[in-house]
């Protein structure tokens, strides 16, 4: 087995596992039962999506996906913080 075959299959499998993790997180987000469960699911969805982008960058062997991953992480963080704050007080900006 050549090195590129190993890389292609291994990283493809890792990406598939991360996508499955995203699906599980999405299931928790859709099912609830309570708002905090949905936010937790959304946060996990963002996190695993970010890791999937990193693995995709590894598959193509380019560093171009670094910014995409970092930006997705930042958006996920802001969204989760805003939602959690909304849950606590009923308003985001005060």
């Amino acid at each position: 087995m050549s090195a590129s075959t190993v890389l292609d299959w291994g990283l493809g499998l890792a990406q598939g596992m991360l996508v499955l993790a995203m699906a599980l997180a999405a299931w928790r987000m859709l099912r609830g039962p309570r708002a905090q469960d949905r936010i937790l699911g959304l946060d996990t969805l963002y996190l695993n999506g970010m890791l999937a982008i990193v693995v995709h960058g590894m598959r193509t062997g380019s560093g171009l996906y670094f910014e995409a991953a970092l930006i997705l992480g930042m958006i996920g963080f802001t969204a989760t913080v805003a939602l959690a704050k909304f849950l606590m007080q009923g308003e985001v900006i005060q």
């Binding site: 499998l13 991360l18 695993n48 670094f66 849950l87 606590m88």
Partner: protein, 113 residues
């Protein structure tokens, strides 16, 4: 896909790191489904945010360093970012959940500290 060109030993190390990291992330997401109460479930995604992310980022740094021919540490910044932000989100979420459970007087509500 035009994949990167690496020596065989490096390819195996990268694949093992990536699969290990993806495995921990998947276990964390599985915990989101399997665990029974919300306060138990909050622990699960931390798995993906700590060891899962660390292993995947280590693999990515090794791969990109070999491909580009010099040491690439950029991905460590993602790791630093996750380490700093995950506690903040989990903390806020836990506090919000505790607040809601207490005002609604749910049986599973946390006691006062």
């Amino acid at each position: 896909m035009n994949g990167p060109d690496l020596p065989a030993w490096a390819a195996w190390i990268v694949v093992v790191l990536a699969l290990g990291g993806a495995g921990f992330s998947l276990t964390g997401a599985l915990g989101l489904i399997r665990l029974k109460t919300f306060y138990e479930r909050v622990h699960a995604p931390t798995l993906g945010a700590t060891l899962g992310a660390f292993l995947i980022l280590a693999g990515s740094m090794l791969l990109l360093s070999l491909v580009e021919g010099h040491i690439v540490l950029r991905d460590a910044l993602i790791g630093l970012f996750i380490t700093l932000t995950t506690p903040v989100t989990m903390l806020l979420l836990a506090r919000a959940a505790a607040h809601r459970d207490r005002t609604e007087k749910n049986p599973g509500a946390p006691p006062e500290p």
